[in-house]
Symmetry: C2
């Protein structure tokens, strides 16, 4: 499969302009060293996912959008798709696995999408069947060049705003974000290092990189982490191609480090990071010696967090 090009990412940047917030880099003086945060938690739906979803919809024909779009997601991609479809006046169907948080169903429906609930094991199959049956365009959360190009606009903006950036730290789940960011950063500033970050408890991509081949963890393993956005059990095939081509290393962080980073991000930079959104900053804070030196940017990928968890983390109460 061809890798996503910087030209596709530039087109995506034009497409998402005015829909995705042009997030600024926030210098994090409190973090020591030279760190800036890329606060994707400031997007309307609370995460970078709006970039890939909206760009993907833009590449569809008017007729395709009129028939409708479908996605399978229990997380931020669901709301991103619902929001992007509503912006286009396109009907959206979101397949959400049974057992997902009720709040996510409500939030997705509030954006005008039809939610179909299926047993977790059937989610991808159900989405494919519904797509076929009703002529809907399926937009996967990361196994898709259009989505990767959209997420890559995060990397484009980072280099635009700090042309001297040395290290870009990116949370990794299915790998769509780091694939796009790495494609952009390596095209625009090849000497910059792109480092993926995972929880220790969901380190499937870290292990994949170490072995040189995609490995799959079990949901029983990855669901142990508090970082609910990073529980995917293996990197996607297309993201994996980009990771092999462009990513310079992987770092893992502990559950306590994730909580500590959430607290420090909220108090130091005045933004709310969800656990998944805090891992890249945690890598800078607690694993600096494992990282290349220089001007670092950490992507805060999202901020959709349960209020009780956020309050607990802020109060510094033990788990």
């Amino acid at each position: 499969m061809p890798l996503v090009s910087i030209d596709e990412i530039r087109i995506a940047a034009k497409n998402v302009s005015g829909v995705a917030v042009r997030t600024p880099l926030l210098p994090a003086l409190w973090a020591g060293g030279t760190l800036a945060l890329k606060p994707e938690c400031l997007q309307v739906i609370g995460a970078f996912k709006i970039r890939g979803a909206y760009h993907a919809l833009t590449t569809l024909s008017h007729e395709e959008r009129s028939r409708g779009v479908i996605a399978s997601s229990s997380g931020n991609h669901a709301q991103a798709m619902a929001y992007a479809a509503r912006a286009y006046g396109a009907p959206a169907t979101i397949v959400i696995p049974e057992g997902a948080a009720h709040g996510k169903v409500v939030a997705t429906e509030a954006l005008g999408a039809r939610v179909v609930r299926v047993p977790p094991a059937r989610r991808d199959l159900a989405a494919a069947e519904l797509a076929q049956e009703h002529g809907l365009s399926l937009i996967p959360p990361y196994e898709d060049a259009r989505v990767i190009a959209g997420q890559g606009t995060v990397g484009l903006e980072i280099v635009e705003d700090d042309p001297a950036v040395d290290v870009v730290l990116v949370p990794v789940s299915g790998g769509g974000l780091i694939a796009g960011v790495a494609a952009a950063v390596k095209a625009l500033r090849p000497q910059a290092k792109v480092i993926g970050v995972e929880p220790e408890l969901a380190a499937d991509t870290t292990e994949s990189v170490r072995r040189g081949e995609r490995v799959t963890w079990t949901p029983e393993q990855t669901y142990r982490t508090i970082a609910d956005g990073l529980r995917t059990t293996s990197p996607g095939a297309l993201p994996w191609e980009h990771i092999q081509a462009y990513v310079d290393g992987m770092v893992t962080v502990s559950e306590q480090e994730i909580r500590d980073a959430m607290r420090l991000i909220a108090l130091g930079s005045r933004i709310v990071a969800e656990p998944s959104g805090a891992v890249a900053t945690a890598a800078h804070l607690f694993h600096s010696a494992e990282l290349p030196p220089g001007r670092r940017v950490a992507v805060v990928s999202g901020g959709n967090v349960d209020p009780a968890l956020l309050a607990e983390v802020l109060s510094g109460r033990p788990v």
Copy 2:
């Protein structure tokens, strides 16, 4: 005294570029109606004050900066001045009243400023004496055209980013922020309404507007509010000239409304507002009927909040 002009605000915008974060407008879908937040809590020192402080330093001569600058503040202006002075390599002296939170002293000293502690009643006099004695340039927090021009860049950016804005909601303490914002907004979009917001418990400017003359509350009155950045007991003289010329109305909010707004801002827009920073959003949320209709922008002026208070507010625990 002449009012600050849009030309001065444009010059200030050039000066603060690259030092102040160019904060985006964040659409707040969760807030009902059409509201966007201007998140000044994202500034490096956590508040808009960096704009006025840095612009004021820029207008000094090299020699004046070399002799040093001085300010009297127990709040965000102290850190803004310390940060701006450090950026210029200028020595900074900050007069902080005894009794101010220890954390603010530490934060100001961490930015390289010399802190002088004096009894609260002597703070302004002490600053003036030290300025005279040592040839330091005094930069007041709001009673200063340079500072007002710097704060006005917030208004300039709001109209740049939403040329169709109808209502701009601004927290009011000494009045430097609303003076600058109103000067910019009325120059660029005269039909837009600029509304000041205060806590009910520190509504000195609201009462001043109602009476048509500056009134002064007592510290015993204004110190009742949780919004510690809005406890100034009367609008400044120069800000008051701008308020009379440009501001279309005032709204007050309750202590509980401030807390509720802090919680909703954190969860809905993923930013941390300090109590003072939440009042403008609280006006939209809880006093919408008192406000002009249309596209509203609420300035979230700062996000420097005690972690325990933030945790308490997030958990929704009663006071």
